[in-house]
């Protein structure tokens, strides 16, 4: 089944706001082995002008992936997640995410296109505080292998 083109422009809102915590930031920074003090040391973060520790630049993928999973389980879209690989990723930051942020994520299917046997789905997630301040936009291009080829059989 090809991916449903009617879904371009469709929006998915995260079921509930996400709480960015010091503990989760420390865990993520540890997992990427990045020892920058601004991720773990509140005093260092304050000295740098932040109200609390900040999250690494790729941390917002947690929210972007969650949104992708939400779209993936929409049966009408027809996205087979077992065929998906991550093709491209871009983040555009207004500021870094930081501990204490409570954020909403709204994800829009920005583009669906076909290249040979491959389909590409671009998801654009706007991550903003519940107060409405934009923090970061995550643009996640998923490559779905073989879908179009199957359809042509």
């Amino acid at each position: 089944m090809a991916i449903n083109r009617d879904f371009v422009g469709r929006e998915y809102r995260a079921a509930q706001p996400y709480d960015v915590t010091r503990g989760k930031i420390r865990e993520f920074a540890g997992a990427i082995q990045d020892s920058n003090a601004l991720y773990t040391d509140i005093e260092a973060a304050k000295a740098a002008g932040y109200p609390d520790v900040i999250a690494p630049p790729t941390f917002p993928i947690i929210l972007g992936m969650d949104a992708a999973a939400q779209a993936a389980v929409d049966p009408e879209l027809g996205l087979d997640f077992s065929r998906v690989v991550h093709g491209q990723q871009t983040f555009r930051y207004s500021r870094p995410l930081r501990a204490g942020d409570v954020v909403d994520t709204v994800t829009r299917i920005a583009e669906i296109k076909t290249l040979g046997a491959t389909e590409m789905v671009t998801l654009e997630s706007e991550i903003s505080t519940v107060e409405g301040e934009h923090v970061v936009t995550s643009v996640n291009m998923l490559v779905v292998r073989g879908e179009a080829a199957q359809d042509q059989k």
């Binding site: 540890g30 990427i32 082995q33 740098a48 630049p57 930051y93």
Partner: protein, 142 residues
């Protein structure tokens, strides 16, 4: 802290020295837990091979994080990033041994923009392959 590199001290062509980041199976398991991406191709050799991969591969986002460190370590403040984007061109294959794989990252300033911003073009290689292409970080310097 803010950025410690001054815009006026940087030219187009300024190089960020190459760094080598190790990646072992344990790192992928930790990253899976921290990121919530439990796709088995990142920890299960049987599943990875069944979908045509040579072995377990690193999360693209793990590689993107390591490449980004070259820039954030250079400027000091990760909050100085304005935009960061990559295209994943080849997988980082991680064997099941104590050494694992290596990701080598280098960078060069390819453009100076207004508002103290520069564009750093990143190159990331592993096992002889270029694992990221079109990898650019826009960063605001002091």
């Amino acid at each position: 802290m803010a950025a410690t590199i001054r815009y006026t001290d940087v030219e187009v062509g300024t190089e960020l020295p190459e760094q080598v980041y190790p990646v072992r199976r344990l790192d992928l398991v930790r990253y899976a837990g921290a990121s919530g991406d439990f796709n088995p191709i990142h920890w299960n050799e049987r599943v990875a091979k069944s979908v045509g991969l040579p072995n377990v591969i690193a999360h693209g986002m793990f590689t993107m994080a390591e490449a980004g460190r070259l820039v954030t370590d250079w400027v000091g403040d990760p909050g100085a990033l304005v935009e960061y984007g990559v295209k994943f061109s080849a997988p980082v294959v991680v064997p099941d041994d104590d050494e694992g794989a290596e990701i080598s990252v280098s960078g060069v300033v390819k453009e100076k923009r207004d508002d103290n911003q520069v564009v750093v073009a990143l190159t990331a290689r592993s096992g002889g392959a270029k694992v990221l292409v079109r990898a650019n970080a826009v960063v605001r310097l002091a």
